[in-house]
Amino acid sequence: MGFTPEALLFAVFSVSSVIAALGVVVIRDPVKAALSLIACFFSISCLFVLQSAELLAVLEILVYAGAIMVLFVFVIMLVENRDEAIVNPALGQRLGVPLKLAAVALVAFALLNGVRRAGLSTPEDLPTDFGSVSSVGHEFFDNFLFHFEVTSVLLLVGIVGAVVISKRRKPQT
């Protein structure tokens, strides 16, 4: 792989996205963890731009970094100031950590090996309108119409489930 500007940018943003994602897991302060998550989303959206998926990049920022993260931060602010909520892991869990890291390393190794052996470094020429709003729209409403429709059912179930669980009703007498 030559050092094209794309490769350099890819390296920068993929490293920053991994570091930010690690930050979400490691940082103890929930607000800072949320900020780290925003950094992660931003890096990923830069990666999307590098893959010529501009629409996806914009949506990533708008939906995840914008809407969803604002909700996250709101929820964190509402349930803040409860230090006891974050507990020290038990000994058994601490012992499990190397095991989990080993599992992650194994998957990462298999993945790298797989990509190397599959030889995926042959980018095809993309159609000129790749990643544009209209081509993504055509995919949605032509090839993936059913998926699009059934997602609405899925979201409805999510909303109803959240409301049913969080709404405390008076116990019936």
């Binding site: 899925l154 489930g161 049913v164 009703r169």
Partner: protein, 494 residues
């Protein structure tokens, strides 16, 4: 591409359920403090109708929706999908019958409860019809999210909240594996369609890794060892009818989707790539042994049933191994097993629902709490004995034929040792299933003694009676269901 309304007819059983569910949600806005038994009735009618429509269409040609051929249709409505849809609708129906009196006691008598059950059933139906991995994923999530919410409904019991949170987190984790696997499969084959997947030769490491991650996601959903940790806590904390629904519905849908996967992509891969069979076999053996041994030491009947459900996933995995070996009868054995398992498990949870006490608590679920019930409530005692005997796999119940067909298929696929492990597991299981019967009939009732106050309700009685009827029916006359499962497997091209 345009879709005309008549072309949607094969989807009617699912659309009907979505309609009823939305009706229930809308009506909830106007319903005051009234009793929600009507919601249960409406759900039962919808599920019954949906089941009838699915079964009625069995034998008609395969319908491809939103696409023109197997490679691009997201939905494949064939006999396999129809039989599976009828099965999950039946599971939802019995669960809805078990619910009204329990929901009133536990304080979650909402219309949304039944709406969520209906949505979960719709998700399961979509899983059984999925022609590509994306459809499968959307169906799985629709089902899972509905069940997460149902698990946490007992708002006044911290065990329920804990269960819902645990289930949600573990489920989200499993979903991560599954999605990552699907992404890798897409990376390797440039398609998510199962039919296209089948044309790819094994050997691409990306494909292998992708399928492995998808299998891990499955293993989480069916609580196969070592991905079973969540099961006991979730089973214990969820409302009892939901536990029953979760044990049978989620398992049935996952195995049915796995079966379709095995007969397309994974099956081809398994016959050319020798790594799958040992992995699946190891998963099956571990699941059977760990599930049965841990069930032995449980003191809480709901937790015992959770571990027993883990072990049943193990028996079913034997069937999956046989199917991956190309054994044609394995698929119909799995569907038969799932059907009989559905009725006996829902029946057992139905009896537990009957005996649930208003104050609840883990004490009321121990073996000792059921001392002498067999004499106090003779019909309940009989029913529970029947379900336990069926779960142990003894004749004259559906459980016996389920295990017989499954192990026969394994022997035919030259996996005799797996069948032997399965039989050994069943022998262990006899001990803890009979322990329930012993508690019901042979324990001294403690003097002042906490005795469960059976909650009487016509719906509950009907639900348990239906389950008992089908358990016996499948044990005495297995032929009609066997014919159905055979036509289901024929439609997959076997």
């Amino acid at each position: 591409m345009s879709i005309s309304l008549p072309a949607l007819e094969p989807l009617l059983p699912g659309l009907l359920l979505v309609g009823v569910a939305i009706l229930l949600l809308m009506y909830e806005v106007f319903a005051g403090q009234a009793d929600r038994t009507y919601a249960a009735h409406l759900a039962v009618v919808g599920l019954g109708l949906s089941m009838f429509l699915s079964l009625k269409a069995v034998g008609t040609p395969r319908a491809l929706l939103f696409g023109t051929d197997l490679a691009n249709a997201p939905l494949i409505v064939d006999d396999f999908a129809r039989v599976a849809s009828a099965l999950v609708a039946a599971a939802g129906l019995v669960a809805a019958l078990l619910s009204p009196s329990y929901a009133k006691n536990a304080g979650h008598d909402h219309g949304e409860y039944y709406g969520l059950i209906l949505f979960a059933v719709v998700g399961m139906m979509i899983m059984s019809m999925a022609g590509d991995l994306m459809t499968f994923f959307l169906g799985l999530e629709t089902m899972s999210i509905a069940v997460y919410a149902l698990t946490g409904l007992r708002a006044h019991d911290p065990r329920s909240t804990e269960a819902a949170l645990k289930y949600f987190l573990m489920g989200a984790f499993a979903t991560g594996f599954l999605l990552f696997g699907i992404a890798l499969v897409y990376g390797a084959t440039a398609s998510v369609s199962l039919a296209t997947l089948a044309t790819f030769k094994a050997g691409s490491p990306l494909l292998t890794l992708g399928i492995a991650l998808i299998l891990i996601g499955f293993a989480f959903k069916v609580a196969a060892v070592p991905f079973h940790m969540w099961a006991p806590d979730v089973y214990e904390g969820a409302p009892t009818p939901v536990t029953g629904f979760m044990a049978v519905g989620v398992k049935a849908a996952a195995f049915i989707a796995l079966l379709r996967l095995v007969h397309s992509g994974l099956g081809v891969s398994a016959q050319t790539d020798s790594t799958w069979i040992p992995i699946l076999s190891a998963l099956a053996v571990l699941t059977i042994l760990v599930g049965n041994v841990l069930a032995l030491v449980q003191q809480n009947v709901k937790r015992m049933l959770a571990y027993s459900s883990v072990s049943h996933a193990g028996y079913l995995l034997i069937g999956v191994v046989a199917a991956a070996r190309g054994e044609a009868s394995a698929g119909s054995a799995i569907i038969f097993y799932l059907t009989s398992y559905t009725f006996m498990t829902l029946g057992a949870f139905g009896v537990l629902t009957f005996l649930e006490r208003k104050e609840g608590g883990p004490e009321s679920e121990r073996y000792g709490a059921f001392a002498g019930i067999g004499f106090r409530h003779p019909a309940l005692g009989m029913a529970m004995s029947l379900f336990m005997v069926a779960l142990a796999g003894m004749p004259p119940t559906g459980g016996f034929f389920g295990k017989l067909y499954l192990f026969t298929a394994a022997i035919r696929a030259e996996e005799t040792w797996l069948a032997l492990v399965g039989i050994a597991g069943s022998l262990i299981s006899v001990y803890y299933y009979l322990r329930v019967i012993v508690a019901f009939y042979m324990r001294e009732v403690p003097e002042p003694g906490p005795t469960p106050t059976a909650t009487r309700s016509a719906q509950l009685t009907l639900g348990v009676a239906l389950a008992a009827f089908f358990v016996l029916q499948l044990g005495l006359f297995p032929a009609p269901l066997l014919a159905l499962t055979k036509s289901a497997m024929l439609s997959l091209g076997l």
